[in-house]
């Protein structure tokens, strides 16, 4: 595992306005993720996990602070540029899969590729590879409604990796699945990390899911409070807002 950080979050604050009230969700948060790491984010509901993930995936911009992914500083890109950047660099896995119901599994996976200059044959090759990888090449022409939850989530993962992004972010990817399907999905994520060297950021509630990651960060009230390494005895290394270097 290379130690060069692929994701660098520096002193990031994020607040939302609701009416006249200002809600500070993330407070002066810093974080490094080395390339190829499988990182889990845990924390109570409302602690800001999704918000942090969205910022790293370039779905939103921080109120202050800098976010770098690879060579790019994404915290000051325009919305349109961020969109283009996301296509190539981030694969997103949702809790509720969010496949488009009108499209087949194949077409759902193909969707992000339509944004890239690519021939139909090339697209086909990449889509089949991705579906192969998640073990669904025999369900290509099924619509989401015809697939089980676990299968839908695997299509979701295929869609996330089809553009071959460096970074995969997953927001509670097993939150809606039964234990067995959840287990399969986690196996798949570990596999992505191991064989394709993808960097994976996963938000989860489930300690069992988190234990499959290499490192677990605990978020509370918008701040990272501790870091654990699964398998190792609980390191009581309470971190404040310093970067973990």
């Amino acid at each position: 595992m290379s130690l060069a950080p692929i994701v660098r979050v520096e002193n990031v604050c994020k607040s939302f306005r609701r009416g006249s009230e200002q809600i500070d969700v993330l407070m002066n948060l810093s974080l490094d993720v080395p390339e190829g790491e499988f990182l889990a984010l845990m924390g109570p509901s409302g602690s800001g996990k999704t918000t942090l993930l969205n910022l790293i995936a370039g779905l939103d911009r921080p109120t202050s602070g800098v976010i770098r992914v690879g060579p790019e500083t994404i915290s000051d890109m325009s919305e349109a540029r961020l969109a283009r950047w996301r296509t190539r660099n981030v694969g997103f896995v949702f809790q509720f899969y969010n496949l488009l119901p009108v499209l087949t599994a194949y077409e759902n996976v193909e969707l992000p590729l339509l944004l890239l200059p690519m021939s139909k044959a090339m697209r086909k090759q990449q889509v089949t590879t991705a579906l192969d990888l998640v073990g669904l090449s025999n369900r290509m022409n099924h619509r989401p409604g015809q697939l089980s939850g676990g299968q839908q989530q695997r299509v979701g993962i295929a869609r996330a990796i089809v553009t071959d992004p460096t970074l995969i972010v997953a927001d509670e990817p097993t939150g809606d699945l039964d234990t067995r399907s959840a287990h399969e999905i986690l196996d798949l994520m570990v596999e992505l990390k191991n064989s394709l060297n993808k960097t994976i950021l996963m938000v989860t509630h489930d300690p069992k899911a988190a234990s499959r990651a290499e490192r677990i960060l605990h978020l509370e009230k918008g701040q990272l409070v501790s870091e654990t390494v699964p398998g190792a005895p609980a390191l009581d290394s309470r971190i404040t807002s310093e970067p973990t270097a």
Partner: protein, 463 residues
């Protein structure tokens, strides 16, 4: 100046409309270039087939109504548009309707009544035409509608003639220009035949069917407006084109000869009452408004036309004054009905599209996550609306055209002398552009709201 009118008229009345073709080509080009996206939009539309179909139907029906209304308006416009070239002066009796002038007026009127050197002189052989009306019944005991026939009596050479030197047909009738060469040749042959045998006549197809007669048959007419001048005719052929379905055309000379032979040997007071009253109107073609003014001046100042006095109008001014009676109705159609329909269409589309956008907020957010830019999302929504609008508009315009013109054979307008009217050739283009414009107008707001969907708001559910 006036040629702009011409261009506009052509623009709105010809299917070979360059803008229309370009627009369709563009739509197809974009649809094919972004075929994957188009397919995606089609699939999204298929998700709620009922709603898409209903929206399309609404567009379809409204385009149909607009096409009908516009066709009538364009038709009337064309009739009233003051043309600058080849103006037609219509000379009629000044104080009486129906106009009944002595045929002795014809010779000088046909030249535009020049009296002095330097006066404007019309070429009577090519640029003037006399009209008389002869009507009667096939069966004097049964004056039913089917039995009554009405002839335009005219000079066949003015309907059409062929100039061997220039190898061109000339005609006083506007419609003839649009006929094919073959049609012109046939009509020319028929007119020469009418000159040779003045009892031969042309009859409109519908009238012919009503009379239950065939080409080649002979029939006798007991006149209603020329008492005792009963004539025998032979049907030479049908009048081509849609405008004269119910009419019939005869050689004026036949009528004139019949009156003369009736009067032969009779003293002045025993002569036929219509003797000095056969000429209903004269057409005189002049190249421009200036020539028209001069001819009108020559005629009105001439001492020759005093009992009865005559007047001179342009064709369009005559129709324009006639249409004046319908001014409010036409105004309402143009400025109230049509805009109201357009607004309704936009609202129907806006309603359907905004519902479907609201239903798919999460989906739009997912597309954004996948890397679709705000403008791409905007285009997807606009594209869906455009697909419905363009398709149903184009089909509706074309179908209206096909149904009215080809299947029904034209609509009879309840305005006296216009005869049948037809849907403009450009109707499919009208449909396409109306469909596109209303779809755009209706989907701009929903598309904008889809464009501004905030991903973080859709997915960061409040804990």
């Amino acid at each position: 100046m006036n040629s702009i009118d011409e261009v506009l008229l052509r623009f709105t009345s010809d299917w070979r409309n360059p803008v229309g073709i370009a627009a369709l080509a563009l739509v197809l080009f974009v649809a094919i270039l972004y075929w994957e996206q188009t397919r995606f939009m089609l699939k999204s539309l298929r998700r709620n087939v009922l709603r898409s179909v209903l929206t399309g139907m609404a567009t379809f029906i409204l385009v149909l109504v607009i096409t009908l209304v516009w066709s009538i308006l364009a038709f009337l416009d064309r009739q009233t548009a003051a043309k600058s070239e080849n103006l037609k002066a219509i000379i009629t009796e000044k104080y009486q309707l129906p106009s009944q002038m002595p045929i002795s007026y014809a010779t000088s009127l046909a030249e535009g009544a020049p009296r002095n050197a330097g006066d404007y002189r019309v070429n009577p052989a090519k640029d003037s035409m006399l009209w008389a009306f002869y009507g009667g019944t096939l069966d004097p005991n049964k004056k039913t509608r089917e039995n009554i026939i009405f002839f335009f009596a005219m000079e066949p050479s003015k309907i059409i003639s062929y100039d061997n030197r220039t190898k061109k047909y000339s005609s006083m009738m506007d419609d003839i220009d649009q006929a094919t060469d073959e049609e012109k040749r046939l009509l020319n042959d028929a007119c020469r035949e009418m000159e040779k045998y003045p009892y031969k006549v042309l009859v409109g197809p519908t009238r012919l069917a009503q009379m239950n007669k065939r080409v080649g048959e002979r029939f006798k007419v007991t006149s209603l407006n020329y008492k005792e001048i009963d004539l025998e005719f032979e049907i030479l052929g049908e009048i081509p084109g849609g405008r004269y379905e119910l009419s019939a055309a005869m050689n004026y000379q036949y009528l004139q000869d019949a009156i003369e032979s009736y009067n032969k040997g009779k003293s002045k007071d025993k002569q036929h009452a219509m003797t000095e009253r056969t000429l209903a109107l004269m057409w005189v073609r002049v190249p421009d408004m200036d020539a028209f003014e001069r001819v009108a001046q020559q005629i009105s100042s001439s001492p020759e036309y005093t009992t009865p006095a005559v007047k001179c109008d342009t064709a369009s001014s005559g129709i324009a004054s006639f249409l004046d009676a319908y001014k409010d109705l036409l105004f309402g159609m143009r400025w109230l009905l049509v805009p109201a329909i357009l607004v309704t269409m936009s609202l129907v589309i806006a309603n359907a599209i905004s519902i479907s956008v609201r239903e798919r907020r999460v989906e739009m957010a997912v597309l954004k996550v996948l890397g679709f830019s705000p403008n791409q999302i905007l285009s997807l929504v606009l594209g869906e609306a455009l697909l419905i609008g363009c398709t149903s508009g184009l089909i509706s315009g074309w179908l209206t055209y096909f149904l009215i013109n080809d299947l029904v054979g034209g609509l009879a307008l309840p305005i006296a002398f216009f005869g049948k009217f037809f849907i403009s050739d450009a109707a499919p283009w009208w449909g396409l552009s109306i469909g596109a414009a209303t779809a755009l107008a209706g989907s701009v707001l929903p598309a904008w709201s889809a464009r501004s969907v905030k991903v973080s708001e859709v997915f960061s559910k409040v804990a």
